[in-house]
């Protein structure tokens, strides 16, 4: 297949790029203003939506926050790099990670119905241990900042590549758009705009991918034949090098990314209790088609024999490159940009809403319990801006955020099993919980550095889990989770 078919589109001007970013932001702002007027009166509404998020908004918003801008592009990139094995290992653990939340979500919602954050659960689970609570709070904050900056960075790269905008200006415009509307309505805004963004991700993605194949002479048959001719293993899902190269590590990382993420726990306590289980089931199952659909762009890259140098050196750009260079109409290219912007905005506003709950419950109410409702509401809203500003400064500084990525990875992976056991296993105690996390970081991370991702990840998970098990078996004391039902609402809605 002749790759001279790919050519840059002259009509993709910077003005169109700004219009796309600002247009989606203004639309979300209008919705946010309506939400603020109709559904948000106090901190309780802002951070937990009065625990009235219904099934539809629950499903739509969980899918939206889980569909990162980078994931939209990575599904194509992994297929391009590893063939269908890459798509298999990228996709299968992704939906499973969302559904893996169900047992933990059901247990905590049942036993601690008036909770807000996972750090708050740890506080009461371990007798107000400052060490345990601080570790989890810091892990959640690091994770949120990382979510924001990765999505911001990914989107700015795409927008600058497609429209020729300076990536620093794209970063600033993007974050201003998201923070402006996130500031007003909190979680309600996040779930409503996120749900609409799910629509803006799915339908345009389907149309654009179908349009790309319609544009290729010979269509799917030609691509299928060319991919097979480039290497039969490209059409197999059983490549062991894909599993060892990134698949198994990614699977653990994704599990840690949901179970150790306040963005998801906030929804556990915000969705109506009767809908908690089915919300995460539907979200996980319905998430699957998104990366499967976009992954099919990676096959086009293989079929045409594109090499990284053709697309600017970074394989993550394979999807955007194909869509913007294969000769689609301007509307279709803009639809694809909308997919990435929707994924970016929904993940950032979800993360910002999660940060607001941490600031309100785990910082202000914990350390300054006498703070008035009025002042708490202002601080909570400002925290949305603070998280975005910090992430933006890190991106704009041009710093290599490998350290932040590694630190967050180490914390989240180390927290995974201790957190799971603290929910499922009554014998889990504070010594095991804190000791497991500290030992996993102290011993597991050096192993990770020396022996690579796979061995390192398995070591971190094993060390943290074993430490909790040994400490629990030694102490022989059981914790009664149902006792958490007595925990009262930390940020209860003031009487009207």
């Amino acid at each position: 297949m002749d790759k001279s078919i790919f050519a840059a589109m002259p009509t993709l001007t910077p003005a169109l790029g700004y219009a796309s970013m600002i247009g989606l932001g203004l639309f979300s702002l209008a919705l946010s203003y309506g939400v603020k007027t109709l559904l948000v009166r106090n901190t309780h509404d802002f951070i937990i939506a009065d625990r009235r998020v219904g099934f539809g908004f629950g499903v739509g918003s969980v899918i939206a926050v889980w569909t990162w801008a980078m994931a939209v592009m990575m599904s194509s990139a992994m297929t391009y790099n590893w063939g269908l094995s890459g798509l298999f290992w990228f996709v299968v653990p992704n939906g499973f990670a969302v559904m893996a939340m169900i047992p933990f979500a059901r247990i905590l919602r049942k036993n601690m119905p008036e909770g807000y954050t996972i750090s708050e659960f740890i506080e009461y689970r371990f007798n107000r241990s400052k060490a345990a609570t601080a570790i989890v709070t810091v892990t959640m904050i690091f994770g949120i900042i990382l979510e924001i900056l990765i999505n911001l960075k990914g989107t700015s790269v795409v927008v600058s590549t497609v429209f020729g905008i300076d990536w620093k200006i794209a970063t600033i415009v993007g974050i201003v758009c998201v923070l402006t509307y996130s500031y007003f309505g909190g979680l309600w805004t996040s779930v409503m705009t996120g749900t609409l963004n799910t629509l803006m991700i799915t339908v345009p993605a389907a149309i654009v991918v179908a349009a790309v194949y319609a544009k290729i002479p010979g269509g799917t048959q030609a691509v299928f034949d060319a991919v097979g001719a480039a290497g039969a293993k490209n059409l197999s899902v059983l490549r062991p090098d894909a599993a060892a190269g990134f698949g198994i590590t990614l699977a653990f990382g994704l599990l840690a990314a949901t179970v150790s993420d306040q963005t998801f726990w906030q929804k556990v306590w915000a969705v109506k209790s009767r809908d908690v289980g089915r919300t995460f089931l539907w979200s996980g199952a319905l998430f699957y088609p998104i990366p499967i659909c976009l992954g099919m762009l990676g096959l086009v890259g293989i079929a045409y024999g594109l090499v990284p140098a053709d697309i600017g050196g970074d394989i993550v750009a394979i999807g955007p490159y194909i869509v913007s260079h294969i000769g689609l109409g301007l509307t279709l290219v803009l639809l694809y940009v909308l997919v990435i912007l929707a994924a970016c905005y929904s993940t950032i506003d979800g993360a910002s809403a999660a940060l607001s709950s941490i600031v309100a419950v785990d910082i202000v109410k914990r350390y300054f319990p006498q703070t008035s409702e009025g002042r708490l509401f202002v601080i909570t809203k400002l925290s949305v801006l603070a998280g975005g500003i910090v992430a933006t400064l890190i991106v704009l500084s041009g710093l290599d955020f490998t350290t932040l990525v590694l630190t967050t990875y180490a914390l989240k992976t180390s927290v995974l099993l201790p957190l799971v056991l603290s929910i499922l296993w009554p014998k889990t105690n504070m010594v095991g919980f804190v000791g497991g996390i500290v030992a996993a970081i102290a011993i597991g991370m050096p192993i990770y550095e020396m022996a690579g991702e796979l061995v390192g990840t398995l070591s971190i998970v094993a060390i943290s889990g074993l430490t909790v098990l040994i400490a629990g078996l030694v102490s022989r004391t059981d914790f009664d989770l149902s006792g958490l039902k007595r925990i009262t609402d930390e940020v209860s809605a003031p009487a009207e």
């Binding site: 559904l39 009065d50 625990r51 009235r52 998020v53 099934f55 539809g56 499903v59 739509g60 899918i63 269908l84 798509l87 298999f88 299968v92 939906g95 499973f96 559904m99 169900i102 059901r106 049942k110 119905p113 309600w188 749900t195 609409l196 799910t198 799915t202 339908v203 993605a205 389907a206 149309i207 991918v209 179908a210 194949y213 319609a214 269509g219 691509v223 299928f224 034949d225 059409l235 899902v237 209790s273 009767r274 908690v276 289980g277 089915r278 089931l281 539907w282 996980g284 199952a285 319905l286 998430f287 699957y288 088609p289 998104i290 499967i292 659909c293 976009l294 992954g295 099919m296 096959l299």
Partner: protein, 97 residues
């Protein structure tokens, strides 16, 4: 196939937006009513459906390695995602009053 996916996409968009509108009305009505949250987490069997969706996703991806027609399964299923979200709104109970 492109034309079919576009037409189905438009239909699904209308269905989704109808569900979204219903969800908004329900949320506002419940907020105004101020009725307490139900507070019960019902037993819910999810293992079978969860396992089925994991296996189905793997089969769809593997299928694209056997038949070129399966490449279109991705776009078609993405429309199912949008339709599923819309359907979820219609499965909500209407607020009392």
């Amino acid at each position: 196939m492109y034309a079919l996916i576009t037409i189905v996409g438009i239909v699904v968009t209308v269905f989704f937006l109808a569900g979204f509108w219903r969800g908004c009305k329900n949320a506002i009505a419940e907020y105004r009513a101020g009725s307490p949250e139900w507070g019960e987490v019902p037993d819910y069997r999810y293992g079978g459906i969860a396992a089925l969706s994991v296996v189905a996703s793997a089969v769809v991806i593997a299928g694209a390695g056997f038949s070129p027609a399966m490449i279109y399964a991705g776009p078609l299923l993405a429309l199912v995602t949008a339709a599923g979200c819309g359907l979820a709104f219609f499965m909500e109970d209407k607020p009392a009053g």
